[in-house]
């Protein structure tokens, strides 16, 4: 039976958006960690970024075996930390991926993939983040996100999507687990690049000119990652830290003022 709704914590949403907005050339993918309550509401407390074995602009998917091992690893590394905070066991409850320059609605491949995951877990949900959509007439940009599951079509053997309501739950601060997930992005991008380069470099039929070129491409791509992802991430974190310090100072001043007012009353 399909889930009734999805409640996505705002800091988990932040990680998903940061990941989806990291590149407009390929689709990205991750897993959602949380729990399902008795009302069939899926509560997503955190997400983890997955490493892609094949980067494409219009497709991203992992096999059930990869999903199973990633889920096991996620549950081991995250469930204990989240369980300590919430007091309840956590597990992988869904997946998300991005649609850069593509409509937010899931493709037939996405629907089929979702159906395959639901065979392992009926409460498994899928999120899609559509980014880099621009209306050239009004010169405005758009970011969309949706939540869905798959059901067997009434006619035929194909699957069709069903809409699942999604609500972003406010979370005053970015949780520690989500923050750790957010800063994993540069490392995962670097690992993806290293894996790609090692596969290329292991080819024996390449001439030295090609090898020299590929080495330069590897270096250039790493520098691009640092410029486009690592640098802005670091700057965002530093600015946030500074803002938090200012907020603390203001709150302390407010506290003193209120205390004085109380004393005069």
């Amino acid at each position: 039976m399909a889930v009734s709704a999805v409640h996505l914590e705002s800091d988990a949403f932040l990680v998903c958006m940061n990941h989806a907005l990291s590149t407009e050339k390929e689709e990205v993918m991750g897993l959602c960690i949380g729990e399902v309550d008795t009302n069939r509401i899926v509560h997503i407390h955190s997400v983890i970024i997955l490493r892609r074995s094949d980067k494409r602009k219009d497709r991203v998917e992992i096999s059930p075996e990869q999903l199973s091992s990633a889920a096991t690893e996620a549950e081991i590394s995250f469930s204990y930390r989240l369980a300590d905070m919430t007091g309840r066991p956590m597990r992988v409850v869904g997946w998300y991926h991005s649609h850069p320059h593509i409509t937010v609605w899931p493709s037939h491949v996405d629907v089929r993939t979702q159906a395959m995951y639901q065979m392992m877990d009926q409460g498994f949900v899928g999120l899609i983040f559509s980014c880099f959509i621009e209306d050239k007439n009004t010169k405005t940009g758009r970011v969309l996100y949706t939540c869905f599951q798959s059901v067997q079509a009434q006619k035929g053997s194909e699957y069709e999507r069903i809409e699942i309501p999604i609500h972003v739950v406010p979370h005053e601060a970015i949780g520690k687990v989500c923050l750790e997930s957010a800063v994993e992005l540069p490392r995962i991008l670097c690992q993806e690049e290293q894996d790609t380069y090692r596969k290329i470099h292991s080819l024996t039929h390449l001439d030295p000119i090609t090898k020299i070129h590929n080495g330069s491409v590897f270096t250039k791509n790493l520098c691009s990652q640092m410029s486009a992802v690592s640098g802005p991430l670091l700057q965002w974190l530093e600015d946030r830290l500074e803002q938090n310090r200012q907020s603390v100072i203001e709150l302390q001043l407010d506290k003193e003022r209120l205390t004085q007012e109380l004393a005069t009353m």
Binding site: S10, M17, P100, I166, V217
Partner: protein, 401 residues
């Protein structure tokens, strides 16, 4: 012809944080979220001359927002100048390039209030190109399964606004290149030689390394060589000194065969020689060939006769009681043999040279008596001058001084 292209660029982290603040705002009051955008603004002019167009100049004006400063809505009312100055107190005016607002369920158009705030901010930061970023979240489907966030950037001038494209900085803008998988097919013979370019380069590196090691080895060898050379010179010098000492010993034996005082290196407290320290070693040196001048300069006719009779003559000191008229006689004898080369300074005991066969038994130490140190030293110096290449051994000096 000039084209003006303006754009606003923000990073995905900034946009995500704006949405995060929007979700964390007070839902009960449905209040909007506002804040400042620090960053930098830069303009670039590119002149592009092609065959089809001349003087095509493109102006690129990019406003880059590095972060978003969320404003506490309770402290911020309507953008009064004093209020704005207070808000800007924590930031440098030149760093503020715009401000943003998230308002729900509205179209993407600026209100009158926002225009007032914008004008106040422009005056406060002295930036006529101040940017206003408007974010409008809304629901796409009635079920609430799909949501949308509109992002629009406006530049407001004279109560009119125009949209500026907003670009989210990401990896895709940097044109990441692909790896080459197949090798470039080229049948050129010389190109295939280039295939060993890397091998040649590696070989050169190896050669350079081996040359460096070789140079280090040569340098170490040279250091050892010079050390060895110095050692050899020192040894040669020592040998020569010892050789000189040997020559001196032989010369003294030849000149003063009976003068044990001249051949010893030790004296008693009373000034008598210690025979145990006399050198009795036969060094195997032929004086006639090695030091011929000793024989020519120091052997008078009488001495030559003695030499002829007895082979090596030994000279001894004349005892004091025999030397009553020895100074004059000695002087005559010395003058005969050595001319003015000898310096005779006294007439004390040790200077009286008489043949050993006349008074060989006078080697008795008790007959020696006192002697003149200065005369002995002078005589030694004379001997050295005869030997020419010998140096005065310091040991003998120490003995007699």
């Amino acid at each position: 012809m000039a084209d003006l292209n303006s754009s606003v660029r923000i990073s995905g982290f900034v946009l995500g944080s704006l949405m995060f603040h929007h979700f964390n705002s007070d839902f009960n009051s449905d209040s909007d979220v506002e804040g400042l955008i620090p960053g930098e603004s830069k303009a670039e002019a590119r002149s592009n001359i092609t065959d089809s167009q001349i003087d095509n100049i493109q102006f690129e004006h990019t406003i880059s927002g590095s972060s978003a400063v969320h404003l506490n809505h309770h402290n911020y009312r309507g953008g009064e100048p004093n209020e704005v100055r207070h808000l800007l107190s924590n930031y440098k005016e030149e760093n503020v390039i715009g401000w943003y607002k998230q308002q729900r369920y509205t179209d993407q158009q600026i209100t009158f209030r926002e225009q007032v705030i914008h004008e106040n901010l422009k005056r406060a930061v002295s930036n006529q190109e101040l940017m206003f970023l408007l974010l409008t979240p809304s629901e796409v489907t009635s079920s609430g399964s799909t949501h949308k966030l509109g992002v629009c950037s406006l530049q407001i001038t004279f109560s009119q606004s125009c949209s500026v494209p907003v670009r989210v900085s990401n990896l895709g803008l940097l044109e990441q290149q692909d790896y080459w998988r197949p090798s470039a097919s080229c049948s050129s013979v010389n190109y295939n030689r280039v295939s060993s370019l890397r091998t040649v380069s590696e070989r050169k590196q190896e050669q350079k390394k081996s040359m460096t090691n070789f140079c280090c080895s040569i340098y170490q060898f040279l250091i050892c060589y010079f050390i060895l050379l110095l050692s050899v010179k020192h040894v040669l010098l020592t040998l020569s000194q010892s050789q000189e000492t040997v020559l001196l010993c032989e010369a003294i034996k030849t000149l003063f065969p009976g003068a044990a005082l001249l051949q010893t290196q030790a004296l008693t407290f009373q000034g008598f020689p210690v025979p145990e320290f006399c050198c009795n070693t036969d060094h195997g040196i032929d004086i006639t060939t090695t030091l011929p001048l000793i024989l020519t300069h120091t052997v008078p006719k009488a001495r030559k006769g003695r030499l002829g009779r007895g082979g090596g003559t030994s000279w001894r000191k004349r005892p004091l009681w025999e030397s009553s008229d020895t100074p004059k006689r000695r002087k005559n004898m010395l003058e005969e043999t050595e001319g003015s080369s000898l310096s005779v300074s006294g007439s004390e005991t040790e200077d009286d040279l008489i043949p050993a066969n006349q008074n060989r038994n006078n080697l008795d130490m008790s007959n020696r008596g006192q002697k003149c140190t200065t005369q002995i030293i002078t005589l030694h110096k004379s001997v050295w001058s005869i030997g020419k290449s010998v140096t005065f051994p310091s040991q003998l000096l120490k003995t007699y001084i």
